[in-house]
Every structure is written in structure tokens, then in C-alpha cells.
């Protein structure tokens, strides 16, 4: 699999690819914010009482969500890019915010493939590193946030052993 994998062909095909703007399934809502805060014991009344969206949740609300089945954030895009393995590990994240978002706001996002590299990791000598940039906009198409994400796609232990 590793020998047959043509990273240059994959880069030519996918680097610079940009998705269409897609809107979140639902507007920003209180209950997902409450669950998110519960996860990390966050008691901030800005989020729990006053309807402000935690800045790190803007891409959550710009996504279709996990159910009914839909393309979730960048995962659908990443899955389309050929790679030797299909297991995902996120390695880095860089967010910049331009506006505050509140309950009731409608958000959407589009994604761009910034770079694709093949670089060995401790999990897989044929790991593929995919860098994407996501732009989140509000209902008036004003940019709310930009996010650069570094994901790594690798093979399972069994797949590596098989060669």
C-alpha cells in the first residue's frame, strides 16, 4: 500500500480544493452549550445564562452535526482524500475570532485543503498529514472565525503489519 501511494498525485488533485458554503443544521442553541460546559466543568454565566456562544463552539454550530447522517465539519472532506490508512488523529488547532456569536445566530462554514504531506509518525511510517482552513460565517455572511486544523491519517497496527 505504501509503495503504491502517490503523494504527489494526491497533492495535485486536492491541495487548494475548497468546499461550498454549508449552513449548520440548527441555529446556536442553549442545550449544546450546556453540555459542552458540563464536559469541562465550565460555570461561566456568559455561556450558561446570557446566551453567548463559547468561541470554540462556532464550528460546532456551523456543522450539520452527527445525526441525521451528514458530512461532519472537515471529516467528509478528509475522507475523500486518498490515504494509505483511514484512522484519524488531530494534531493541532489554530483559531482566530472576529465576532461574538449568540444563541439564535445562524452559522455556516466552508473548508479549504491547505497542504498534504506524507511524514512518518510513531503510529505509522506512512502517515499522511492534512492541513485545512475553515472559515465560519454568520447569517449575514460576515466572517466570525477562521480555524486551521492539522489532522493525521494513519493505518491500524494490523494494516502496518500486513504491509
Amino acid at each position: 500500500m505504501t509503495i503504491a501511494y502517490d503523494i504527489e498525485a494526491v497533492r495535485t488533485m486536492w491541495e487548494g480544493h475548497e468546499t461550498e458554503l454549508a449552513w449548520g443544521r440548527y441555529p446556536v442553541e442553549h442545550d449544546p452549550i450546556r453540555r459542552y460546559c458540563h464536559m469541562v466543568d465550565d460555570l461561566n454565566p456568559r455561556y450558561l445564562e446570557r446566551g453567548e456562544c463559547p468561541p470554540v463552539m462556532v464550528d460546532y454550530f456551523a456543522s450539520a452535526g452527527a445525526w441525521p447522517p451528514a458530512e461532519l465539519d472537515i471529516i467528509g472532506l478528509v475522507r475523500k482524500i486518498p490515504t494509505p490508512g483511514n484512522r484519524l488523529v488531530n494534531l493541532g488547532h489554530e483559531f482566530e475570532w472576529f465576532r461574538t456569536v449568540r444563541v439564535g445566530d445562524r452559522l455556516g462554514a466552508f473548508h479549504r485543503v491547505v497542504s498534504i504531506e506524507q511524514r512518518a509518525t510513531r503510529l505509522d511510517p506512512a502517515s499522511v498529514w492534512i492541513r485545512t482552513k475553515t472559515t465560519v460565517v454568520d447569517g449575514e455572511r460576515r466572517v466570525v472565525a477562521e480555524r486551521v486544523n492539522q489532522i493525521m491519517v494513519h493505518q491500524s497496527v494490523e494494516e502496518i503489519a500486513r504491509g
Binding site: D42, P54, V56, G65, R87, L88, F95
Partner: protein, 145 residues
């Protein structure tokens, strides 16, 4: 939470954000899936994680950024605006770890529009130390603005 609003003039380079700790119990891992709606099994299925070469299930990106966001927004207060947050996930925080979420002021400056502070932020665990280093930029209110 509940402290008086922190202003730019109150901050000095070297100030420490004491932060907080969270034990990564199985319940916490369930809260992670609920809170992020990230059902990728490497974060909740121990067999799947081990088949992928990981020591165990580990917290996901959504959890990490939620914890760092809590650290920064608690510190910045109601009038603070988180402008930027970046981090690298160099080693995983595993089920059973107790993570500590901390920070430190590294720089402060003003420009025409903002009174800004740069922070180093990180998450550490007892096995690997600082496994998630990062940084953030926060805009704070200024008494002289």
C-alpha cells in the same frame, strides 16, 4: 469566576493562570462524547484505540479546546475577548490521567484598537508533562481607553 473584571493595566508579564485540574474518569469521557458529539471511537472504544496503536482512549480536540477556552475566558472576565487560541496535541491525555490546565502571561501590548495580552497555555498530565502546549491572545478592557 465572579472576580472583578480584569483590566489590561492589572496584568504583568509573568503572571500565572492557576487554572484547574480534571480527572479523566470514564464518566468524564462520556461527558466528552456528549459535549462534543464526536463519536469517533478512538475517544470512547478502548479496543478500537488499542488496535490503532494507542495506549488507551484519549480526550478529543473538542475537549482540549473547551478546557483551554475555560481557562482563558475565566481569566479574561466578562469584558475580555478571546482573539486567538492555538495548540498542538503532541501526546494524548488518556483515560485515568488527571490533567492540569494552566497558563502564563508572556507579553502585553497596545495598538490603535486594542489592549492585548499574549498567554502561554497548556495542558499537562503526570505521565508526559506538558503534552498540549499552546498560546492565546486576549483583548482586555483598559481603564485609559
Amino acid at each position: 469566576m465572579g472576580d472583578a473584571q480584569r483590566c489590561w493595566e492589572d496584568v504583568a508579564v509573568g503572571d500565572v493562570l492557576d487554572g484547574f485540574s480534571l480527572p479523566l474518569t470514564m464518566t468524564r469521557m462520556a461527558l466528552q462524547v456528549s459535549g462534543t458529539q464526536d463519536f469517533y471511537p478512538v475517544h470512547h472504544d478502548r479496543t478500537f484505540a488499542r488496535e490503532g496503536g494507542h495506549a488507551d482512549i484519549f480526550i478529543n480536540t473538542g475537549f482540549i479546546r473547551g478546557a483551554l477556552c475555560r481557562l482563558v475566558t475565566d481569566w479574561a472576565g466578562d469584558a475580555g475577548f478571546v482573539k486567538r487560541l492555538g495548540f498542538q496535541m503532541r501526546r494524548p491525555h488518556l483515560l485515568g490521567d488527571t490533567i492540569a490546565v494552566k497558563g502564563r502571561v508572556t507579553r502585553k501590548w497596545r495598538d490603535d484598537a486594542h489592549a492585548a495580552v499574549e498567554l502561554d497555555v497548556w495542558i499537562e498530565n503526570p505521565r508526559d508533562g506538558v503534552a498540549t502546549p499552546g498560546s492565546a491572545t486576549v483583548h482586555l478592557p483598559s481603564r485609559s481607553a
